[in-house]
Symmetry: C3
Subunit: 280 residues, 3 copies
């Protein structure tokens, strides 16, 4: 199911993959436009998410009050909704922000953290999926749980490998109209048709909390800079993976990795992305 994207056929606007030039160009566009990324995210990662967005050149805002969330969406270039530390008042803000973003044509990302683990969480995640996110990014378990809830799965659980998850993700993308990304040792991005894979990152990244959340936020930055959904997602995941593997090589452990990653996101450029990015 995994197609190798032909570089000569790829471009930053219309493909599930990216030429190397488009990849570097996307990063430069983020830095040139400094898109305002409106995050409704979890308490664990608010600081590190904001710092990652700043390091890459975007402009983060964290706004969740039901009284202002819709008004704020209109200032945003992209919205990122992450259900990590969920509660009902926040869920209401998420629904309002999603609807306001859709109505205003602002692209938005859903990060369905721990979907499938409790009924409360699964119900809210499915309700947000029904609002048609531009991009959904999760790990294999989360995407399988969501797709199952949508009728697209068959009780597939996390003991299944990534090939099964990818099949489900493709059907799920086709059903929902969202670009779907499954991140893991290899990341996959699909719009239901084409599939891009990104083989970057480092095992130590799983010992820093919230790097999946950072990935979703970076997707928001590339969407906010004007890239099309699959291109934005592929560029964001490659950017994080390359910065992470360079940072890991410099780190004694996950504490230094967390800061070195921010430094590398800041220092990354077209040359580094082209040299280290493994996008197919």
């Amino acid at each position: 199911m995994q197609h190798e994207i032909q570089p000569e056929r790829s471009n930053a606007e219309g493909s599930a993959g990216l030429t190397e030039a488009a990849l570097g160009g996307g990063l430069e566009r983020v830095r040139a436009t400094a898109p305002l990324v409106h995050n409704i995210t979890n308490f664990v990662v608010m600081n590190t998410t904001a710092n990652a967005l700043l390091a890459i050149g975007a402009s983060p805002a964290m706004v969740h009050a039901v009284e202002e969330v819709e008004a704020f969406v209109h200032h945003a270039a992209a919205v990122v909704i992450n259900i990590g530390t969920l509660s009902e008042p926040w869920a209401e803000a998420m629904r309002r922000a999603a609807d306001a973003a859709t109505a205003a044509g602002v692209p938005w990302v859903l990060d369905p953290v721990a979907a499938g683990v409790t009924p409360f969480r699964s119900a809210i995640a499915s309700d947000l999926v029904a609002r048609r996110p531009t991009v959904i990014r999760g790990n294999a378990s989360e995407i399988l749980a969501l797709a199952g809830g949508m009728g697209g799965g068959k009780g597939v659980d996390s003991t299944h490998g990534s090939t099964v998850a990818l099949d489900v993700a493709q059907r799920f993308a086709a059903e929902t109209g969202s670009t779907v990304a499954i991140t893991g040792e290899v990341d996959y991005v699909t719009d239901g048709g084409t599939v891009a894979s990104i083989a970057n990152g480092h095992a130590m990244m799983t010992m820093v909390t919230g790097l999946g959340c950072t990935a979703s936020a970076l997707v928001g930055a590339f969407l906010g800079a004007g890239l099309a959904p699959t291109a934005a997602t592929t560029a964001a995941l490659t950017t994080l993976g390359v910065a992470g593997e360079i940072a890991a090589a410099q780190s004694l452990g996950p504490g230094s990795l967390q800061l070195n990653l921010l430094d590398q996101l800041y220092r990354l450029d077209r040359t580094i992305l082209t040299r280290y990015g493994h996008v197919k």
Copy 2:
């Protein structure tokens, strides 16, 4: 009151102290089992607590909604309840999680941050104590305030030395059935009978916010790995103290200490713990 634990009589399952072998064995058990530690904790430390749990090899989750907190407890190997940035909706989640943990036989830790400072905070802390935490960890002021509220104190205030605090802690442990830890320059762990003391750590650790909260979370990790309450508590405090003093020796200030501590938690092994741990 402070007993020196005889190494030949200690073991990881049944003693207030730990042999050096048990200490290293506990850490290895955390890494082998990657226990899911369910935290209901404060906004200040959520990120650093999650990272400390990951660095030691545990699997953190931060879940507090009343709609899902009981369901989530059933996935957890241990629960950690920390009242740092308290509010009534969170207090309700804490009560439900404590009751669900007790009912399901999941061990749980109470960190009564700033108990005694306001009546609101003291009342909620006492209410949680009455639900019989497996372990209560606080500084001397917090434990004295709680024990006083339980009838075990006599207006003892923080001008009293740690010997007085230890006496109170022993009576408090005996009354409540909880293992009680008082952390400070020297840490004490008691089940009402035996007392272990840990003389590790570094003064600069008091200039990094939330390391007491980290200590409580690590107790959750060792409980979740199957160690008995006093063994788990002693192992967790020794692990943090040893990692902290190695990290402090490498740090120009509290900023570098925060990250070096995570690196050292990650790098710690049986040999390092045995060489640097000062447990009696």
Copy 3:
């Protein structure tokens, strides 16, 4: 409008500026008194704010529940109210804390994050301004928005330069009775009459989230140590600017800057402040 403060006429208690001796003396007073700074602040910066206060020698607390916020104010040497991640329950706690602080004679700082961006946020910020903060610290856009809402502006927007912002700030300070600080490439502090300017800091500091919030918290530390409003504000902004520029010189990017800044706040002393502080 910007007066150069004559060093021989300045002192830490009564001037908009500070002699170099007063600047160093203020820092030493913070360390000697370890003032308890009560913060009601946003989720993004709670950890980094607490760490900055600890690094400078103050004692931070984050307390926001309506049930205890007034009781807690009575333990505090200063209160810092920051509306970053605002919601109505928190706004109510902010109003109560502000009133309790005013009633008890405890100095308090308002950080009107993103005032002017949504009506909800502007209304709460103006309501807090009407409660007469001791110090208001914001960027030019925030101060202009607030002053406009108070009748002191004329539709001035962020395209206007800092000279216009400073004029508005002076009138705003005179109208409200608050000391007003506008931070940016150069920081300005005014009580409506005199103006101090601080030319410290580094451009990379804008890529670390929440350093404006840190600035407001440090103002609280210097107020809590007993300095007069303009002196406390000037000392705090100089302290942060000097520590930040030393830290930036040591940093590969914003990740290392965040930690080096904490180390430098911890290591700063009278000699370093005197050598690097650019206060006029």
